[in-house]
């Protein structure tokens, strides 16, 4: 019976409903276990000294100012980009609805590169939903329960992500591997990929929105006689240390940023 389930799960993904139902039972356990972990973090936060807080505040304010300034520029650029694309009669979506999710401090299978999030179908989370953090693409949702969901990290060997080189738009597939790095598949040996190139999501495949940073090229090995180069990419998302992630809804426009002037695209 268990063996049947195993095969059903691996081959046909038929057990998702069962898994979702049982995850309701597992949630209290996971919640209780994550309490001391999250509580410890809160305690650490509440005992930071006033001086540290002020320094932190100062730093964040400076960062905020910097980001705001850049955002102003981006808003102008976005409108300009839209207008140009309008002229070319193609349109891209800029911005998606997003939701912040906390990681539950619980263990999963050893070395399985998965994380458990505290948002589920009750919050609108769906299978295959992209997950990002402040620095780049983190992974995608693989199991959803009513209260929790499990996300597979991009370094998981099962995970493949359509990407492109930011500098020149060369497309490839980034797959997880054994270590903490990603590798690019299907990069021709003569392709112009250099160490230090920024890799971003390409939006092909329709699951991940385009333009999110994925990582930086760390190593390029070209072997004569082999049609594809071996490219290693370090993920830019802080996969191992992150506490909060963003869940994205690529099809939905953000509600909060609707006030940004986007004249041409809304006019039609």
């Amino acid at each position: 019976m268990a063996a049947t389930l195993l095969i059903a799960d691996q081959r046909y993904r038929a057990t998702e409903a069962l898994r979702s139902a049982i995850s309701v039972l597992a949630y209290p356990i996971q919640y209780v276990v994550s309490l001391p972990v999250n509580g410890g973090r809160m305690l650490m936060e509440s005992v930071t000294t006033r001086k540290e807080m002020m320094a932190d505040n100062e730093r964040l304010r400076a960062q905020n100012l910097l980001l705001k300034t850049r955002l102003q520029k981006f808003a102008a650029l976005e409108t300009e980009n839209m207008r140009l694309r309008e002229l070319l009669e193609s349109s891209i979506e800029v911005g998606e609805r997003a939701l912040v999710a906390d990681l539950l401090g619980v263990e999963t299978e050893p070395s399985s590169r998965q994380v458990v999030l505290n948002k589920g179908t009750r919050h609108g989370v769906y299978l295959g939903q992209p997950v990002v953090d402040s620095d780049g693409v983190t992974g995608q949702i693989t199991h959803v329960g009513p209260f929790t969901s499990t996300a597979m990290l991009i370094t998981n060997p099962k995970h493949a992500l359509p990407v492109q080189v930011n500098r020149n738009g060369i497309r490839a597939i980034a797959t997880g591997g054994d270590g903490d790095a990603l590798s690019l598949s299907f990069v021709p040996t003569n392709a112009d990929v250099r160490v230090g190139d920024l890799i971003i999501s390409s939006g092909l495949g329709g699951r991940f929105p385009a333009g999110y940073p994925v990582g930086e090229v760390k190593q390029v090995v070209r072997t004569p006689g082999v049609p594809f180069a071996k490219v290693t990419v370090m993920p830019s998302a802080r996969l191992a240390r992150t506490q909060q992630v963003l869940l994205l809804w690529p099809e939905e426009r953000p509600r909060s940023v609707a006030g940004l002037n986007r004249p041409a695209i809304n006019a039609e």
Partner: protein, 161 residues
């Protein structure tokens, strides 16, 4: 069923075992984590096989699978098999002194780890670590005498027979 009302004691021990399994540990310690759920299951299989049998093993295994986001059925298969061997031999195992019992439990945990190893080796892309996957066998064997005494006292105090 004279002791049905005390069934929550059994449930509570399983709950604690599940929590210990989900508790995050630093990576070096996580690979030494004893197979808590399997050990508690073996204890109740030995003590009262008519109450905690294969069905319980299967249900707990499924819960564990979901909790750990493992392939559905991996732990259910391993725990049910371990439970089957234990229940089939419970009268013999029960008579052994605690030290000898620990070795038997070690072998059962070895069977448990072997099954999970095979499942993950051949059904998933995440290959288990060939060395550290077997560490829980050692820690579980060493912890068994203490766990046994603890659970036995608990069972006697709760008057479960």
């Amino acid at each position: 069923m004279p002791s049905t009302s005390r069934g929550w004691v059994i449930a509570a021990t399983f709950l604690i075992a599940l929590m210990l399994t989900a508790l995050p540990l630093p990576p070096w310690a996580a690979s030494w984590r004893p197979a808590w759920v399997a050990m508690v299951l073996i204890y109740w299989n030995l003590a009262m096989p008519e109450r905690v049998g294969l069905a319980v093993a299967f249900a707990i295994g499924l819960l564990l699978d979901v909790m750990l986001s493992a392939p559905m059925g991996q732990n259910a298969l391993a725990l049910t098999t371990v439970s089957f061997v234990t229940v089939a031999n419970h009268q013999r195992f029960r008579l052994y002194p605690v030290g000898q019992q620990a070795i038997i439990v070690g072998l059962l945990i070895l069977l448990h780890q072997l099954l999970t190893f095979l499942v993950r080796q051949f059904l998933t892309l995440q290959k288990p670590d060939p060395v550290s996957h077997w560490f829980p066998v050692i820690t579980s064997t060493m912890l068994w005498p203490w766990l046994f005494i603890l659970l036995r006292d608990l069972r006697r105090r709760a008057q479960l027979n």
